[in-house]
Assembly symmetry: C2
Homo-oligomer: 299 residues x 2
Amino acid sequence: MKVIRKVDELREYSIEQRSKGKTVGFVPTMGFLHEGHVSLITRASLECDIVITSLFVNPTQFAPHEDFDSYPRDFEHDYNLAKNADCDVLFAPARGEMYPEGATTSLSVGDLAYVFEGKYRPHFFDGVATVVSKLFSAALPNKAFFGQKDYQQTLVVKALSRDMLMGVEIVVCPIVRETSGLAMSSRNKYLTDEEKSKAKILFQSLVATKEFIESSERNRKKINAFMHEYLRKLEILKIDYALAADAYNLSEPSEFEEGMDVVLLLGTILGKTRLIDNMVVKIPVSNYNEDERFQAGLK
Amino acid sequence: MKVIRKVDELREYSIEQRSKGKTVGFVPTMGFLHEGHVSLITRASLECDIVITSLFVNPTQFAPHEDFDSYPRDFEHDYNLAKNADCDVLFAPARGEMYPEGATTSLSVGDLAYVFEGKYRPHFFDGVATVVSKLFSAALPNKAFFGQKDYQQTLVVKALSRDMLMGVEIVVCPIVRETSGLAMSSRNKYLTDEEKSKAKILFQSLVATKEFIESSERNRKKINAFMHEYLRKLEILKIDYALAADAYNLSEPSEFEEGMDVVLLLGTILGKTRLIDNMVVKIPVSNYNEDERFQAGLK
């Protein structure tokens, strides 16, 4: 596995590979890799000829009070995990390589960046869009692989690639979970053992809400209330949001339509650690025929 | 000369050329080509193996009250001029190809976009940055060629390419002028013959101000006042701005230092037509020695 630290070198490498007819897969990460990242690299190596993984803790997606300085970093650990997962190139740029001195340009994908997670982290998605755009310019991939755990981020990056004509197909890969159900995250390192055991309530609430919906509940407010009630069992959990939305555009109709994909989104804080999770649920197709639905007041 | 209308096709073409070791030069235009554009294409063909010229009237750099709808368009004329200037590819995308349905992403280069011309056209430079970023993603050039006539735009595009790691070298080419001194512009088409003859005052004021500076004037306010006074001779000319600034970063010190490059920037309206022009002037290096400067109160 090759380590590249310069943007220009990465771009020339990628152009060379693509010109030989090889497809380039890209896995952007902030390092401190875990099994979730490994699953992205493995998937990329199955779908593409060449896999580039980037390690870069992006300063612009952290607010001043957030954990940029303390965010965990471990190059040797990351190197070994990426290498074992069949990564071809590890791109590990210095900060000045990604943000040249005097850089003032930023990207915004618009409204999608300022709801839900974006309401609590107003810098976050514009920072993500800006750095992903730069990384795509450097790596020139055919496909890029993102984890579903950052659900809203996957929508932001899809919008970015489409809107800015980047020609990069965004592949969203399933959430990798601990045995307890806790979604893997580099930030889980911050949790005490006790918190870690309690944190499984996020996944449990998603599973319970999925069952609630599949028992034929389509009213958004009732679904949201169900999730809140479930999560409030863990009193020390601060709930920023726990809600259901259209999985494609995050709109919030009062009733979800049958057959529709709905995403359940959680943004919480446990102790000092921000924890997010999500699950996509299909609203069941009713067995009522049209007449029965009319009589049941569904139409 | 090949005509390409699809982004993906252009990108594949460019990757293929670059992989063969050929350099790709890019000339983005809004079409209705004139000798100024031709000089950019010619310069690109001297410096690069392959020249791509784009024709696209970019809606996002026009405000609603501006001339997007009436902006002159003539594909056949543009085709012939580009072909005769040794252009290899004419990229002429439809609007939906550059702005896919639902596109909401935009770019901003920051403060540089909101001063001078940006104060009078607040949409302009963010719209330019957004479309140039898209065009660079599609054309993947080594170098891009811009006319000095849009001086502030050249600084915006340089910042964009540097900040967003686009790896595109921005080449700024000299202003091409009519015999009268009027800078060539697609918008000159809007001028009546009488206005066209009067419009030469822009160039004349720049030449006169250059001489004023070279007679050793370094005080910014005095230079600005000189320009205003000169331009006011043409009473029907509306002056949005006429000022001197640091040619590299558009800062406005009260005194310019000797040896410094200063840009004289004009933004005006004649009748219904917006006319801009500029000139870069080097502040003369004084012949005073240190003692004499001290006595003359220059230090």
